[in-house]
Symmetry: C2
Subunit: 243 residues, 2 copies
């Protein structure tokens, strides 16, 4: 099937979302080259970033599907449009952490890279005007983000996804430090993984050298962004495209 973009439904910081002609249950995600950090305070546009992210996300969504974890992903076409199931998004970012970094390091003054066992799952309320604050289950329910059963299933899914991803990344010389997921409810009422899984949403370090290959290169001016993302793509595609 060839899916055609219709109206722009939503434009975020890193993606455009379109309706699909004749398919009210689908959307098309277009990945932009723009990068933002620190709640939009730092901005840039980087050539090839969008196409690397859509390629990496596609590989990971496909891989997770083979491991019994479905997502909204339907297909990625030759124009690098990602056709996805339309979800009613749950306004929460689910973060999984295997090693201390970023805001967790700052909040608790822990050494960067300290292992976290078992992995730590956190919820952040998606609200740009509030700076996406960290929330507890109780706050999520008060904010009517979700009920407890849905929160429990988000966390369980996030940990299952972490289990799968922490099995493949070390095989290609990468350490999965932490990552952010978003979920939504499909037309059958099922909780599905949405959004993307890319170096914009994961911290990935070179397993041997510790080099940071993800969006932290942009946040903290650690080196060429596309070079890092390209390394992740090259390593992952060697493993996942062979399958």
């Amino acid at each position: 099937v060839n899916y055609q973009k219709s109206d722009l439904i939503y434009e975020g910081k890193a993606k455009k979302v379109f309706a699909v002609t004749g398919h009210s249950d689908l959307i098309i995600q277009e990945f932009k080259n723009s990068l933002t950090a620190f709640n939009g305070e730092k901005k840039a546009s980087v050539d090839k970033k969008g196409q690397l992210n859509i390629s990496i996300s596609t590989m990971l969504f496909k891989y997770l599907a083979t491991r019994g974890i479905p997502s909204h992903w339907v297909k990625t076409d030759e124009n690098l449009n990602m056709v996805c199931k339309k979800l009613k998004m749950i306004p929460v970012e689910v973060v999984v952490r295997n090693f201390v970094a970023g805001s967790l390091k700052k909040k608790f003054n822990k050494p960067e890279g300290e292992p976290i066992q078992p992995a730590l799952v956190e919820l952040y309320f998606k609200a740009d005007d509030l700076g996406d604050p960290f929330i507890s289950d109780e706050q999520a329910k008060w904010l009517k983000v979700s009920d407890q059963a849905t929160l429990d299933s988000l966390k369980k899914l996030a940990l299952q996804i972490n289990k799968e991803l922490t099995e493949i990344f070390p095989k290609v010389g990468l350490k999965l430090v932490d990552f952010k997921l978003e979920f939504g409810i499909d037309s059958d009422g099922k909780v599905l993984l949405g959004d993307e899984i890319s170096p914009d949403t994961c911290r990935l370090w070179d397993l041997k050298t510790g080099e940071k290959l993800d969006k932290d290169r942009f946040r903290y001016d650690l080196g060429d962004v596309v070079e890092g993302y390209q390394k992740i793509f090259d390593k992952l595609s060697k493993l996942l495209e062979e399958k």
Copy 2:
């Protein structure tokens, strides 16, 4: 029994804690007149504050005991020393909120005074150097603050205490907006309410006028501190001393 202060074990921002001669299972809490806010940035000393807080705390601990909720409180002597069971304190502040105020208002940009139904329970990690950050259950377990069963019992106790307190405060013309509790484990391994319950640790508004009678008077320069605390004492003692 007349309990005698021995060594100073700990001096906090608002209390001194002493060992008790011949009673290794007890402590004596002495309430100071000092007030601090904003993680110690604002400081003052207010005559009579300590004695009002110990009197209010005593009334509330005694009342809760009659309602089947024991605390560390043993007796308050004529020198206004509070003799308490020695607890192994759990390094977490348990906050219960019935109406929006304070940091919750700021974090979520909600109107002050908006009712919260059911009451919201929050955990804050007791760590002065980190500014007592808000934490989730998962973070509490990662930080080895407590196990899940203990966290569950803290929250359950906090909500029971809230149920009791929200029954008495409106009877004396006060609105219990929110409050902070601390818990510890006694020598039998039982979770007991510790610390204090006072206008330093509760937000209490006049039910009719909305006047703030608690520590927010000090935080935001809203009026004479002791005058507010005295009003709370007078109202409460009318109800609780009659019993």
